[in-house]
Amino acid sequence: MDFLGPEEWQAVALSLKVAFWATLTSLPFGLGVAMLLARGRFPGRQVLNGIVHLPLILPPVVTGYLLLLTFGRRGPVGGVLDQWFGIVLAFRWTGAALAAAIMAFPLMVRAMRLAIEAVDPKLEQAAGTLGASRWKVFVTVTLPLIAPGVIAGAVLAFAKAMGEFGATITFVSNIPGQTRTVPSAIYAFLQVPGGEESAVRLVIVSVTMAMLALLLSEWFARRVARRISGR
């Protein structure tokens, strides 16, 4: 296609990759934390809740800076990851995915938690009497019932990950092909006089992609909902 130049395509592909992995890998954690928050009764529940919400509250730049402090090569976690596992996040697309995942995490957890809280515990009890252990109850009853919420959460997270900019550029900066996601590219274009046109092209592409993801998820969520209500 002529619409976008090769560099721009690179940014689009990278954004998709980053958002996809950010969503996918944070999904189980999100679900776990949502379960804990919705059902758990332990001290420090509110603290956990607060921590989960932090990325939403903090300006993205601050989040990015904190990520840099923690997961940077010299940071406590980043150092360990680097030396022990050979995992480097700084200036890699994996770092961008981490930043996107963390920024999107509160959205994901909130949506899932709301869905979990809407599940009738009586159905879970019924499953228990039929011999399902807690884990099986979760897999066979709770999870299917909250599926629309999980999908909603994942889509929100994906959309957010596609649009994330502040934390990403602060944490992993802007390296073409590595960490230059679509929002970074758009930002760069907007900084120079006359760059609007290129920016608009990228905006159109990223909006189109996000809308497609949204439509897909709506369709999917409706299917699941229909499956559940049996209508």
């Binding site: 840099l68 940077g72 200036f91 502040g166 602060t170 900066s173 900084q191 006089p193």
Partner: protein, 228 residues
């Protein structure tokens, strides 16, 4: 422009004390400010880190070209993580940055296509003939302060920033200074906007900044005064 905030804050305080006039500063990126002024922001003076955005606004007829002047200049330096040891050197064409970086470390800069500090840095590296080699290894931050932070935290061992930024950050030191001819002159133009509410006071402040008192404050913060 964002990078001038500290110096201007001090200058404004002094001038307020002298004249009793009130100065309100709104630091942000040059591009954002220029667009906001074009959209009718209630601003009296625009001070840009980048002559291009001033030209752009001029093209829109949003500034009073009579009042436009260069207020100050800046230098570009190569910084390195850690406290200072030894003396900063002047960069000559045979200065090999890649060799200093080592095999896989990165060079922190502001966005090389978009942000003034990055654009100047890229020009300087091109002047050195090392841009093509270094380009894939540059970590571009969204502004020059973020690039500074990358070096300060040791994420990138080297970075290219303004001399003024390097002054206050204790965790970095200036390893080398780029020669003036290696990049277009780094100039900060200022002008009174067309829609200014108090154009006289605004022009007075600009005059004062360009005068000896303002100049002294700017110099204190590491800026270079325009040497015409």
């Amino acid at each position: 422009a964002a990078s001038t905030g500290d110096a201007l804050t001090e200058a404004a305080q002094v001038w307020e004390a002298e004249t009793g006039n009130q100065v309100t500063l709104a630091p942000a990126g040059s591009s954002a400010l220029a667009r906001q002024i074009a959209a009718g922001a209630p601003v009296d003076i625009f001070l840009s880190a980048n002559p291009e955005w001033m030209d752009w606004l001029d093209g829109q007829g949003m500034i009073d070209p009579e009042t436009r002047r260069i207020l100050m200049g800046n230098a570009l330096v190569l910084i390195r993580t850690g406290p200072a040891w030894g003396k900063a050197v002047d960069i000559t064409p045979d200065f090999d940055i890649a060799a200093r970086l080592g095999p896989d470390a990165r060079l922190a800069m502001a966005l090389v296509e978009a942000v003034p500090a990055g654009i100047y840095g890229k020009a300087a590296l091109e002047w050195l003939g090392q841009w093509d080699a270094l380009a894939p290894r540059v970590a571009q931050a969204d502004n020059v302060r973020a690039a500074l932070a990358l070096v300060a935290l040791g994420e990138a061992p080297y970075g290219i920033v303004y001399a003024t930024d390097a002054v206050a950050e204790r965790r970095v030191h200036v390893a080398a200074t780029f020669p003036e001819e290696s990049h277009p002159p780094i100039l900060y133009p200022g002008a009174v906007t067309r829609d200014a509410a108090e154009p006289e006071a605004a022009e007075a402040f600009l005059d004062w900044l360009a005068g000896p008192e303002g100049g002294a404050i700017l110099q204190q913060h590491g800026f270079v005064l325009p040497s015409e």
